[in-house]
Amino acid sequence: MARDGDIHRHLYLQDILTNVTEVTERSKVSEFCCNIVGCCQVFDTLEGYEHHYNTLHRNMCSFCKRSFPSGHLLDTHILEWHDSLFQIMAEKQNMYQCLVEGCAEKFKSSKDRKDHLVKVHLYPSDFRFDKPKKAKSSTKHSKPPSKLDASVPMDVNVETYEQSQVDSMEICPSESVANPTQPVSGPISSLQEKKLYKSRIPSTICFGQGASRGFKSMKKKV
């Protein structure tokens, strides 16, 4: 009965394309720079800045400079990677907590947890916010130029703070987002060539005398 009400609701849901006369919610302000020391990203919308801040600075590990999408994942990371007491306790009891909200399971090791995530929660096996701790934490990783290494993820965790700054300079083809586990179908060779002359620019180099280290072309034309 009264199916008309459901149809009305359905039409309402469908009918939400923003239209021409809409006042855009995104207010533009004059360009400003990120406040965080050392970060030179420039923005001209508050939303753009908000998202940048939340992605890179908000949940950043002060030990290793990795960024996480949420406070929960950051806390888990600090506990498992930087807390020696955790390591000691982990030898005696299950300390590795499941990452899924609402699941209270704990595990003996990172690997056991990953298995649980994959089997029970149907997570991808290369879920990037569940990297096992490296034996030596190293922020440099050299890539074998011969082929795209399938195990190298596009990883928020692996990048350092400085690395992302390099990316934002867009001086060279960045490694941060460009590595799929498989190349897009097509000849691989052109991609390989590109990788050979990729280089990381040390963070101490500044281009131009007293030039700011931001990539200015973020400016939108008005």
Partner: protein, 483 residues
């Protein structure tokens, strides 16, 4: 979302032609919806580009679909990072507005992985643009395209605990579109912890996030398996109490939010999984007070879209009243102002949204069926004329109005006396003349009750009605028995 909607109704320079086009679009959508068994409702967040080349605010120039080669090239360029990646992604996103491009994209080997990689990058602007691409894919009418987005769900859920309003909103609507799509998607979302994630997310103070959350929840609650797999989880969480809070709080800002959660409540209530729990959390008083507030808003100023909120609330109350007594939680409404509110709604929406009249009458029926208090209130508040005025309306409305009158008449002679005094009989004459068998049947029922409790009336006007018998054919038997 809601503020975007209300903007639609502002007239603008190119108004008339656009209005006509939109009306045609709506009518065709309406016809299509009527034919469908199940309404699949996806939502699209798509912003017009803020500026075009010469600095004027304008519509995004509708981009052409991309060929397979173009998609491949775009992806390669993005991987190599030779040009500004954001622009490339933007171009891809525009192409992905077209179904053909979507299909080509998902068929390319490795394309989804590239996209997910971009979606999970640490560069905020790249991430947002990739998210928009995913969103376009989620909205596709081709199920294969939407299902190709499955590998992204764990990340979409992870990002719901983030703090960026726009990005979270985008993730919510993307997930919502995917959830509507198929059992397969939901079979993945549930073990990935979508309900607990939403339960945390509902504590966000941001209207846009809340509205998106309401949307996805409303879609999950409509799933075929909702009653067994989803609603129990929802009821077990903190979601119901937050829904009740959000449905009634701050209507000025949160109308869109209230709409979404009221539909959520409706889907839960009509599944009858555990309404006793909701009743114990105060759903009845919350919804009654909400209706009273909405009624007062109507008399103040026209509020666009109020019917979207009122409809599910009315249904919730109707269903709760109709519940069998469980655990001693018999629903009892005592507030007579509710009646006034209902009649106000009926009067206000009669022309534009007649389905509201039906919903109101249904609730009125459930209110008057058992409780004499509401039957007397209809009479003492002088609402009977308004009720009688509804009799000549559509078939459904007439039927429901007659049922309400029967509920009143059934309560005894005093009530029938009042009905008779307020000229019910003449109205009955006209309904008896209608051709619909059910309407006539219900009219006879009412007549029977009146004559039963007021025999003197039966005697005096019986002859009039006997004449009608001649015309009624097979219903005549019943009437004859009555008189």
């Amino acid at each position: 979302m809601w503020s975007r909607r209300s903007c639609r109704y502002r007239p603008d320079a190119s108004g008339l032609e656009e209005l006509r086009a939109r009306r045609r679009e709506q009518e065709s959508a309406l016809r299509k919806a009527r034919r469908q068994q199940q309404l699949v409702s996806k939502r699209l967040l798509r912003e017009d580009s803020l500026v075009n080349g010469d600095g004027q605010a304008g519509v995004e120039i509708a981009a052409e679909p991309l060929s397979e080669q173009e998609v491949l090239q775009l992806l390669r360029n993005i991987q190599m990072g030779t040009e500004e990646r954001k622009k490339l992604l933007s171009r891809l996103r525009q192409g992905l507005q077209h179904k053909e491009t979507q299909q080509k994209f998902v068929r390319l080997e490795g394309s989804m992985q590239v996209l997910i990689g971009l979606f999970t990058s640490s560069l905020a602007n790249i991430q947002i643009e990739a998210a928009r691409c995913l969103h376009e894919l989620s909205h596709s009418s081709d199920p294969a395209v939407a299902e190709a987005c499955l590998p992204a769900t764990s990340y979409l859920l992870t990002y719901l605990s983030g703090h960026s309003v726009e990005f979270t909103e985008l993730c919510l609507y993307t997930l919502g579109n995917l959830a509507v799509e198929s059992d397969a998607v939901r079979k993945r979302l549930l073990p990935q912890g979508i309900i607990p994630t939403l339960a945390s997310c509902i504590q966000s103070p941001h209207v846009a996030v809340l509205e998106g959350l309401g949307y996805i929840l409303s879609q999950l609650l409509q799933a075929r398996e909702a009653a067994t797999k989803i609603i129990p989880l929802v009821l077990d969480s903190v979601l119901p109490q937050h829904m009740l809070r959000l449905v009634s709080s701050n209507l000025e800002l949160g109308m869109g939010v209230a709409v979404e959660f009221s539909w959520c409540l409706h889907y839960i209530v009509c599944s009858h999984v555990n309404n006793a729990l909701l009743i114990s959390q105060g759903i009845v008083s919350t919804l009654v007070l909400l209706l009273l507030e909405l009624a007062s808003m109507i008399s103040k100023a026209a509020t666009e879209g109020l019917e979207l909120l009122i409809c599910p609330v009315l249904r919730c109350l109707s269903n709760l009243l109709a519940e069998d007594e469980t655990d001693g939680c018999k629903v009892q409404i005592q507030d007579e102002r509710l009646l006034v509110a209902l009649f106000l709604f009926m009067q206000y929406f009669l022309q534009q949204h007649p389905f509201i009249v039906q919903e109101c009458l249904w609730l009125l029926n459930n209110l008057t069926a058992d409780e004499p208090i509401f039957c007397s209130a209809v009479l003492t508040l002088d609402l009977l004329p308004a009720l009688l005025q509804l009799l000549p309306c559509s078939r459904m409305v007439t039927l429901l109005a007659l049922t309400v009158l029967c509920n009143i008449a059934e309560k005894g002679p005093a009530y029938c006396h009042q009905l008779h005094q307020k000229a019910v009989l003449p109205s009955l004459l006209s309904t008896l003349a209608l051709s619909d068998a059910q309407v006539v049947g219900q009219s006879l029922e009412l007549l029977h009750l009146l004559f039963l409790h007021l025999p003197e009336v039966g005697l005096s006007s019986g002859f009039q009605f006997l004449c009608i018998v001649q015309r009624l054919g097979n219903h005549g038997g019943k009437l004859t028995a009555t008189t």
